[in-house]
Symmetry: C2
Subunit: 340 residues, 2 copies
């Protein structure tokens, strides 16, 4: 629905620990006008992702943060409303990086055209967007993962984790997923077809882990961090390879936890089992995006890789929808806010 003003959710304050509604401010301004060569588009779908916490600052991340007063960042799906660029026509669907605002302009260089006849537009934020790319890159390009062994995926019911876990199955791993609560565990086994699923919220976590990993861990796709990791790391095999994708449990930490210091143990595992841990950052590796789309598009459109989506209606629900990611309450499905 075309509007008369442009709404933006800007960063009002850097969070102290967990982000709160008061860290965001809803502001209205004039809709921008495209200059020669530019297009004006209206965002229709907004991606909700854990890494956005890192954009707000005052957490464990060390990457650049957005300024106070700037709109929250993130991928969106948009429709072109006015074009002064010959490459784009009114009505074109595009994926943008303009974050939490109704309207924005671009010279087109950061826009990806979408064809709704190939896949639903929302997949450009999920399995065929940043979410899927993160899973694919982490499973494909970070380590030379040797199929056949045991792959552990944490946050396996989440949008990145579920895609990584399914890629692991397709590539011949025995896949063990970790998630919180019996419903997610059932989803991992019944819907995703994983070999074993571990409920990290259960009282018998260590026993569950030991039962699910009789032959240890050869490959590890880490999305969670927190107290779960020291339990899992004990099961690393010699030459185990870990892709460090994220540590959602730590993103809001402003100081280090007290108790047992597991750092020497981690160093010992690297020392004597040659465990290799590598991280990656999608902004630096977008040159592989076409290769990702070529492999993933048929897997997604044929249903060999499934994905969950949960649509929340209304631009103004963006902050509260985002905060659901961090209280462990949401279903694990990809959260997408649909413009009103």
């Amino acid at each position: 629905m075309t509007r008369k003003t442009n709404r933006q959710f800007t960063l009002a304050a850097r969070p102290q620990g967990q982000a709160r509604l008061s860290d965001f401010e809803l502001v209205e301004s004039a809709i921008p006008s495209p200059k020669d060569g530019e297009v004006l588009f209206r965002n229709t779908l907004f991606s909700i992702d854990p890494y956005q916490r890192n954009l707000m600052g005052n957490g464990s991340s060390e990457w650049p943060v957005i300024e106070i007063g700037d709109p929250m960042g993130g991928p969106t799906v948009a429709v072109v409303e006015e074009s002064r660029n010959p490459d784009f026509a009114v009505g074109d669907h595009v994926q943008t990086w303009t974050g939490w605002q109704d309207y924005a302009v671009s010279d087109g260089s950061d826009l990806r055209k979408l064809d709704p006849n190939i896949a639903p537009l929302s997949t450009a934020l999920g399995p065929l967007g940043l979410t899927g790319f993160t899973a694919w890159y982490g499973m494909t390009k970070v380590h030379d993962f040797k199929p056949g062994g045991t792959l552990v995926v944490t946050g396996a019911a989440g949008s990145v984790g579920s895609t990584a876990a399914q890629l692991g199955k397709l590539r011949g791993f025995r896949v063990v997923g970790v998630a919180g609560g019996p419903e997610k565990v059932a989803f991992l086994k019944r819907e995703l077809g994983l070999d074993e699923a571990i409920d990290y919220k259960a009282d018998d976590l260590e026993q569950q882990v030991a039962r699910a990993l009789p032959n240890g861990i050869d490959a590890f796709f880490e999305n969670v961090g927190g107290p779960l990791f020291p339990v899992l790391m004990e099961h690393f095999n010699t030459d185990a390879k870990m892709t460090l994708c994220g540590t959602i449990a730590d993103y809001s930490d402003t100081e280090l936890p007290k108790g047992t210091n597991y750092l020497p143990r981690m160093i010992t595992l690297i020392h004597y089992r040659f465990v290799s841990i590598k991280a990656f950052a999608t902004p630096y590796v977008l040159d592989t995006f076409p290769e990702f789309l070529a492999e993933m598009t048929p897997l997604v459109t044929s249903g060999r890789i499934i994905y969950g989506e949960e649509f929340i209606k209304g631009f103004e629900s963006l902050p509260e929808t985002f905060l659901k990611l961090f209280d462990g309450s949401h279903s694990g499905k990809k959260l997408i806010v649909r413009a009103d």
Copy 2:
């Protein structure tokens, strides 16, 4: 001096924490006789190395340990006393792996012939032996260390560390050494010519570290571990590379320390600075030993790489000499026990 019996120091008990004299037992037995194809040799120089603690068990190491009742392992220099193998003559000097015993036999396959005209025999245990090989391999083959940045070497006054630090200088790094106490710090700057030296025992450790590392750490050669590491790791630059050679401060630990849990911070550094930590184990990479000798022999014999040796007389001093490594009292020079 030829003897009538063979003395051995065997493992009497697995240490609880720090090793003690009572963990060793001196036993005497008949001198073995070489079979056809074998040689009998007498050990004349015994190498004392931190990793030998790991052979005793009940510490942080996960590698195979020696059995109770077996002689302590380690490299030695020996002289052939009887030969039934055409490749060896009586009086030949060889480097062996037979550990803490006067005599042993071998089919020759694990013996390295030494030429005392090229370099002093003791160097076969130090800069041209396992010690130097460990330093060279860790500096050369583990990471693609890019010269020009800042290299930090911990345990830099020790025999492995001092060789690694000097290789770093020769290869164009700005080298910062870490050692304990003002004498070792003076040695690092005056004798080894390092750019900066940090005394990890000083009260102002954090300030010293910050002063010595204005441009952070690009390459790191780790020998120590313990509480020093979390202080240093804060200075890792993006893409910093760490060779994990050893953690002498942790070898005797039977449980993890309490207090601040630095593991999430380590994971954060890997996540956001792409720090890469790799370990190695010399037994698996001995195929590069000839390449090591080719590069290091001229550096050592010409004095471009210097080394310290401290000779202790008498086979029976082996256990107490070894224990000096772990109380921080020894000079950092390579400890070598000379047979009586």
